[in-house]
Amino acid sequence: MMTSVSMTVNGKERRADVEGRTLLVTLLRETFGLTGTHVGCDTSQCGACVVHVDGKAVKSCTMLAAQADGSAVLTIEGLAHGSELHPVQAAFHEHHGLQCGFCTPGMIMAAVDMIERHDARLDEATIRHELEGNICRCTGYHNIVKSIQAAADHMAGQRHPGLVQAAE
């Protein structure tokens, strides 16, 4: 049985016919050609597939495309404004928050969600705790944490002018 689904992906209206079993990540990668979202495991643990659905970070390998019908989906491709990187992307670049890059799209989407939920006020312990759903096989996490901290501090500075970033 095919189901017709429609959703906005990175701000654009998209429509597709999918099987009941089609995963959201499969729809994004194979039908919409958005291959920035990765698949790193079969067990819903690695987080390489993290995208935002209606503003919340989810594992797109563990959600059916049909479940996202009517939703707004944001993937790594939708984060930058033209050639201007999102502050989290810029921070990963600046602080070398990646090695092979496989986990990076999921890390960045998780980081953006984390920063939003904490209104950009993050400390190292919180960042490490919040990254429980994202696995990196290369970096040892150190520069990922540094990148997220830098992005959060930068965004906090924009949101809370005059705030001196102090550990909470």
């Binding site: 189901t3 009941g20 079993r21 970070a57 989810v58 594992k59 959600m63 059916l64 429980e132 759903g133």
Partner: protein, 268 residues
């Protein structure tokens, strides 16, 4: 994953009839357990009936003595609910320890209870407080709802609608998570009820799934201190053993987590 037909009913009645009409139907809530199981081809329902958006299963209602949570309320919603945090912070804290942020955005309390994984977190609180479980057919007490590993009183087609927790005077949950899966290797929920009695629910460790520890309860009702548990030896014979930990290890872990929960509840 094998092929399956996806349905999104408008209300509970339509959900039940879609389920009844299916060759081998399964309800789908957050999908955080069912979809990984289907991906591994360990489950192959002919039809999935999606409950996640049903308004009848949504909502958190807090009264003077009860917190009622709809089956399709996500772990993240419970963890961040200002109302729950005000009257029953231990429950919000428990929900905030389930899996990881992405899992909490999708996974639901109804799905967790219906699944009854022996290492799931919610059952410890639900059983300890003998919460009331409302389904499309009846009202059940937690003690009758859980029936061993991955087994509940739910009948074919019956939908879990909501869970009502009596608000305890004090409570805390202490969990030792498996570092890879985040599920509990031992999780102990401790509560002092309004009448002064103490309840202890243990998950992750027992061979028959979640259980209440009567020995702990008696000792803690007499003296609500971590040291009240010092002399008690948890019997490894009733503990799960797997590659993550032996029965002896879990027996010790249950006591350690119970003491941590008592310490946390006492200072709350």
């Amino acid at each position: 994953m094998y092929e399956t037909n996806y349905h999104r009913p408008r209300d509970l009645d339509e959900a039940k009839s879609l389920f009844a009409a299916a060759a081998e139907g399964r309800y789908l809530s957050g999908g955080m357990t069912l979809l990984p199981t289907m991906k591994q081809r360990l489950a192959a329902p002919s039809d999935l009936v999606d409950l996640a958006r049903l308004v009848e299963l949504k909502g958190i209602v807090v009264t003077a003595d009860t917190v009622t949570i709809g089956a399709a309320v996500t772990h993240a919603e419970v963890a961040t609910s200002a109302e729950i945090r005000a009257v029953f912070p231990a429950l919000a804290a428990l929900a905030g320890q389930i899996g990881d942020p992405h899992v909490r955005h999708r996974g639901t309390i109804g799905g967790s209870l219906a699944n009854d994984d022996p290492a799931a977190d919610y059952p410890a609180a639900v059983l300890a407080l003998d919460a009331t479980i409302v389904t499309t057919q009846r009202t059940l007490e937690a003690a009758d709802f859980f029936q061993g590993l991955f087994t509940t009183a739910l009948e074919d087609g019956e939908i879990l609608v909501s869970v009502a927790f009596p608000i305890p005077a004090k409570a805390a949950y202490a969990k030792f998570p498996n570092p890879a899966s985040r599920y509990a290797m031992a999780g102990v929920f401790v509560a002092i009820l309004e009448d002064g009695s103490v309840r202890v629910g243990v998950t992750g460790a027992g061979q028959d799934g979640v259980y209440r520890d009567a020995t702990f309860e008696v000792a803690l009702t007499a003296d609500f201190q971590p040291s009240a548990l010092d002399a008690i030896v948890v019997d490894p014979a009733n503990m799960l053993a797997d590659l993550h930990g032996s029965a002896e290890y879990r027996a010790n872990l249950v006591k350690v987590m119970a003491k941590r929960a008592v310490a946390a509840a006492g200072s709350s």
